[in-house]
Subunit: 148 residues, 2 copies
């Protein structure tokens, strides 16, 4: 066995894989992060405001660049799920802690995460993230009251 890639600790369900993705972001752990992704040359990643990145090499390089400035404190919230036999589509609102002149503040990111079932378990094949709106902030912070 010549594989040196770090195997995921637990990859039983798409939720397990997603949990590992966000843990890797929070820990700034590039090997753990890349182990979540499929090896497919067509995997796709779009960061908020960024260009389309295709393939493990481009995706790793971009995350390494981000991690060189520190880890990414992104918490998944309000996950909506669709699941096929070999595919899971998750829409996630990410609460990202960013440092501003006024101290740490929460920003919102909308992410679509797509997982395919492979011989090695559920692996991430697409992560598309874009800036959220005030609507997302309200959605998370102020659930609609049933009284009105």
């Amino acid at each position: 066995m010549s594989r040196t890639k770090t195997p995921p600790a637990a990859i039983g369900t798409p939720d397990d894989t997603e949990a590992q993705f966000y843990e890797a972001l929070q820990q700034g752990d590039i090997d753990k992060l890349m182990a979540v992704w499929s090896d497919d040359d067509e995997i796709v990643c779009v960061h908020p405001g960024g260009a389309r990145l295709v393939g493990p090499g481009a995706i790793r390089a971009a995350f390494e660049g981000m991690f060189s400035h520190g880890s990414i404190q992104a918490q998944p919230e309000k996950v909506r799920r669709m699941q096929g036999l070999s595919c899971a589509v998750h829409s996630v609102l990410e609460r990202v802690q960013v440092m501003t002149k006024a101290g740490p503040q929460a920003a919102w990111v909308i992410a679509t995460n797509v997982y395919l079932r492979t011989g090695e378990g559920w692996r991430l094949v697409a992560h598309h993230a874009s800036p959220g709106t005030q609507s997302e902030a309200r959605d998370v912070a102020e659930p609609p009251s049933v009284l009105h």
Copy 2:
């Protein structure tokens, strides 16, 4: 049979479904557009700079609002594809013609389109679109030379 939803004309492959999606945008045809989507209550749509829309009702309302200003001249280019047994993930650079004071100009949008295979064929379950960058414009307009 009480179904009144317009059936897709041809829905044999994910590419057929995607072609119908962009035709519907270009024609401003809301029924054709909604026939492309799955009926699942968890389908998700994110327009560039917009909030997350979940479910057929919210998605229809947003497209109806857009179509009230005219059709959407979006051409899919540089499609990258990953396919599982029951799932297809397409990453598309959309060339969108927008009217400016200087006349019609091309804008670029990065879209992730996810299709699941259903009893009625391949149906769209997620469309996540966000503004492209100069990199996308270059990617489409100026393929890298093999000489340098």
